[in-house]
């Protein structure tokens, strides 16, 4: 838990009258798993979108180290070493699982127009990528993804979510942003993901997990941030968070 990888300060985003994110500040350190929870519509996905550039913030700065992060998602992902998943799996359904995961391994080959062109030529010359295939195979085994050569259209939603996570993991990111990775996952898949996450964190990666499976999140993360109505209302250790008043009122409902 040393260096700060990613920091947001005073980030806001609103849509018409809806203030989805309001003056949020957040820090993510190397080797840390940070949990982001909050009621539905609290602004968690919007915050992730704003960080990765899928949406542009109205105000605020997002810094990676000391550089402030701007531009389209691809640029940000390259600069900051982001990898992310989407709350609703984004897969090309008429392509195989392997192909959908593969993109995680190759971004550096496409970092400029010339390199894109070069990789087109080198691809025609040497289409096979055995070393990447091996990495994919190993990762799939860990996450309990069964057939890599099936079309994604044939997968269930739960399986698709695993593929989505695998793609992000394969990227070997510096900062990993997961939007509801455990939703609808079976116990074995969840176990595999937790294992993969702990391993990647050991390498110094920072992970932000958004999920409603509080039990899993609380046992996994180093720190828990609670959002409500676009604002951060609690930021601290998971145990403290789970016991806090804020958590009870905005998230569990007063009954618990």
């Amino acid at each position: 838990m040393d260096e700060i990888l990613l920091s947001c300060s005073n980030v806001s985003k609103s849509y018409g009258g809806v203030a989805a994110v309001r003056a949020v500040g957040l820090e993510l350190r190397a080797g840390e798993i940070l949990g982001l929870i909050g009621p539905n519509g609290a602004g968690k996905t919007t915050l992730v979108d704003v960080i990765t550039g899928q949406q542009t913030a109205d105000t605020g700065v997002i810094r990676i180290g000391t550089v402030s992060l701007t531009g389209p998602p691809s640029r940000r992902a390259r600069l900051a070493g982001f990898a992310r998943t989407f709350q609703h799996p984004q897969l090309a359904l008429d392509m195989t699982v392997r192909e959908n995961i593969l993109i995680g391994a190759v971004p550096d080959r496409f970092s400029s127009p010339w390199r894109v062109l070069a990789s087109a030529f080198s691809g025609a010359a040497r289409p096979a990528t055995p070393e990447i295939d091996d990495r994919i195979t190993d990762l799939a085994a860990e996450l309990n993804i069964s057939a890599l050569d099936r079309m994604c259209a044939d997968l269930t939603l739960g399986e698709q979510r695993l593929v989505e996570v695998a793609r992000a993991l394969l990227r070997g990111p510096t900062v990993l942003l997961l939007d509801e990775p455990f939703a609808g996952g079976d116990p074995r898949g969840v176990e595999g993901m937790i294992h993969a996450l702990t391993r990647i964190v050991e390498r110094g990666c920072g992970v932000l997990v958004v999920d409603h499976n509080v039990d899993i999140v609380a046992s996994l993360v180093d720190r828990l941030v609670l959002m409500d109505q676009g604002q951060v209302v609690f930021d601290g250790l998971p145990t403290a968070a789970m016991a806090s008043q804020e958590m009870r009122t905005v998230y569990f409902g007063s009954g618990t």
Partner: protein, 289 residues
């Protein structure tokens, strides 16, 4: 620009707008670009003009049957061609579009074979002419404008208020969910195609009176509507009309100012700059999904 040219702009805009509205409906409801609408309009108009000029049928009957044929052909396109292809490819867009373009050619040649390859004269519904200052306005243009306004208002209301209209938007949004929940997807798609056929048929038979109609007119008409949809966007029912009028204005004005050769250069240049610097089109719906 002389007033007469504005009259032309309105006529062209209304015609292109009607075709574009047909595109809009099929795009919205079935998520395919029904390129064959231009030829459908041509086919209906050719039929009407053929019966009137060769066989002396009364205009209303010939036109009515012409429009009915356009509706039927559009419906059959969905039933016999697009639907089976859509099913077998699991909803892929490309094969359906290619089939529709093939239908475009088939209709063109069928019309050429049935009604001859020489242009046929259209007959105006209202042949009066009005002078307004320098300009001459034909009764037919007034009919065209009235029909266009009615059609747009009707479709706008229908999409918003009627059950079928709402379901049409739902099917276009997420056909899978609609099917799962039990929305009569097939019926709705058929309605979209038939309505588009109706709009095209009406547009064709109204416009034929201006310059006659020949078997090759269809492709031109498709392109005109296509441009209108692109410039207007799909965010709003009225968007195709706005797009159509803008395109008509640009094309008429550029010809008037610079001559014909410049028309295509200028249209391209304006579209190019427009898309490069104002990429959202004019009306656009975007949800974050």
């Amino acid at each position: 620009m002389p007033v007469q040219l504005w009259v032309s702009v309105v006529e062209l805009g209304c015609f292109a707008g009607l075709i574009a509205l047909g595109f809009f409906l099929v795009l919205r409801g079935a998520d395919v670009f029904m390129f064959a609408l231009g030829p459908l309009a041509m086919f209906g108009a050719m039929f009407g003009a053929f019966q009137v000029s060769r066989n002396g049928w009364p205009l209303p009957i010939a036109a009515l049957i012409g429009v009915a044929i356009a509706v039927a052909l559009s419906g059959l396109t969905e039933l016999l061609i697009v639907r089976p292809i859509h099913r077998r490819t699991g909803g892929q867009e490309n094969p359906s579009i290619v089939a529709i373009v093939a239908i475009l050619f088939a209709l063109e040649q069928l019309a050429g074979t049935l009604f001859g390859r020489t242009p046929l004269p259209g007959t105006p519904f209202w042949s009066a002419q009005f002078r307004w200052g320098e300009a001459v306005i034909s009764g037919q243009s007034i009919v065209l404008v009235a029909v266009t306004v009615l059609a747009f208002a009707g479709v706008a209301l229908w999409l918003r208020r009627s059950a079928n209209g709402r379901m049409l938007r739902a099917v276009g949004d997420n056909e899978h969910a609609a099917r799962t929940l039990g929305v009569p997807v097939d019926r709705i798609r058929l309605i979209a195609f038939c309505l588009a056929g109706l709009l095209a048929g009406v547009a064709g038979s109204l416009f034929a009176a201006k310059a006659g109609v020949s078997f090759t007119s269809g492709l031109q008409w498709t392109l005109v509507g296509f441009l209108a949809v692109i410039v207007g966007g799909l965010g709003n029912v009225w968007a195709p009309l706005v797009g159509a009028v803008l395109v008509a204005t640009l094309q008429t004005w550029s010809v008037f100012e610079f001559g014909h050769a410049m028309r295509d250069y200028l249209t391209f240049a304006v579209a190019f700059l427009f898309f490069a610097f104002r990429p959202k089109g004019i009306f656009q719906t975007k949800v974050r999904i």
